[in-house]
Symmetry: C2
């Protein structure tokens, strides 16, 4: 069942390597070995990242023979997207009261 903490998804995507894995899996499902071959890190490292991504609900895995094929979990990705959507809406809705002009340059 797995009771996902919403924040876990953000923590998971906080790491560049895990984002690379997610990007890879967005193209097509892959086995651990395949992922390790395309990344500059060892296979166990990939395994550890996949564990984090799985616990965050961002990927799922299937056992296929001796290999384990990971794929992106659309539901997990959608959850994060929706959260950003909420922030985005609130920022737009609530902010139009104040006239938009920075009084000083922001660098």
């Amino acid at each position: 069942m797995a009771t996902y903490q919403p924040d876990d998804g953000w923590d998971a995507l906080g790491d560049p390597t895990r984002r690379a894995i997610v990007a890879c899996l967005a193209e097509r499902p892959r086995a651990v070995r395949e992922l390790a071959d395309e990344l500059p890190i060892s296979r166990p490292a990939v395994s550890q990242h996949l564990k984090v991504l799985k616990e965050a609900g961002l990927v799922t895995d299937r056992a296929v023979g001796t290999r384990r094929v990971y794929r992106l979990n659309p539901a997990g990705v959608a959850a994060l997207r929706d959260q950003l959507e909420t922030f985005w809406h609130r920022a737009l809705d609530g902010y139009q009261d104040v006239a938009e002009q920075p009084t000083e340059e922001t660098s």
Copy 2:
């Protein structure tokens, strides 16, 4: 001008405290002091986080008297949301070729 690295946004949201700040700013713009009062960390720590968020293009700031008011940057949030949207679409589009049935429980 600021040439934002797309990944910076994810790195920025990778930290729980920064996510709390973003959530705060989603409600309404706030000064540094106000944010520090609502968070369990010191004011300089908040400043450091705001710097990261600003460099990532997720917030903007205005000088108002001696205070500096930060607000969410809808464009920055939208950029990340769109990226997730892409992943989500690709996962849905490309995966329907294979029949969806995990051969083994995934824990």
